[in-house]
């Protein structure tokens, strides 16, 4: 409950680089709700591997360009 997630991400940054894609648009593209996108960006939720790949593919980058392990 409320644990610190050791995975950081650049989802917000990538979203802004891609024409200011909204959180709702990103959520729709990868099949999650806007609230889940917000939780991912705020490091409150680590997405499933499938969603992580969907995000990376959507932005045309590798998985490690989006997510990184940060202890």
């Amino acid at each position: 409950m409320g644990r610190k997630i050791p995975i950081t991400n650049r989802v917000r940054e990538l979203r802004e680089q891609h024409g200011g894609m909204t959180q709702a648009q990103l959520g729709e593209a990868i099949g999650v709700t806007r609230q889940t996108v917000i939780a991912i960006e705020q490091n409150r939720y680590s997405p499933s591997l499938e969603s992580a790949f969907r995000i990376a593919r959507l932005f045309g980058v590798g998985l490690e360009d989006v997510f990184s392990w940060n202890e």
């Binding site: 099949g31 999650v32 709700t33 609230q35």
Partner: protein, 140 residues
């Protein structure tokens, strides 16, 4: 606020209200002078009526305010939230039922057993919705 978090708030409110009315009508001893009434079907119907009325009205209003959110399918994070909330709340129900069985051994009162098991189920449900709200607001 996500639609399903609103839904959890509505259900928490409905369960608290229904539970309060039910146990008030049952005369569960709030003071030593009160007597415990035997469980009756009309009391159960009143409880169910309150629960359904608050839940239906709350969800209709909530869905009308955010129809797109209401129609969105449950996603992976929400599934985790529901699974975890259900898992932890089952301990509340189980603990309550065990305590209820202890009451029965001590008192041999079937009425008390009924009310304490009913209260355990209610507490378990309230805990489940409260945990959903908590998990929506924190990391899981």
């Amino acid at each position: 606020m996500p639609f399903r978090e609103k839904s959890a708030w509505i259900m928490t409110l409905a369960l608290l209200l229904g539970g309060f009315v039910y146990f008030r009508a049952a005369g569960v001893p709030w003071s030593e002078s009160d007597e415990l009434a035997s469980p009756e079907i009309p009391m159960m119907l009143a409880y169910a009526g309150i629960l359904v009325a608050v839940a239906v009205a709350g969800h209709i209003i909530s869905a009308a305010l955010a129809p797109k959110d209401a129609h969105a399918p449950v996603d992976e994070r929400e599934r985790q939230i529901f699974n975890r909330a259900g898992h932890y709340s089952s301990f509340v129900t189980g603990f309550g039922v065990v305590i209820s069985l202890g009451f029965y051994i001590l008192s041999s009162s079937g009425d008390l057993l009924f009310y304490s098991v009913f209260a355990s189920l209610l507490a378990g449900q309230i805990a489940e919705y409260a945990l959903q709200i908590l998990f929506y607001r924190t990391s899981i």
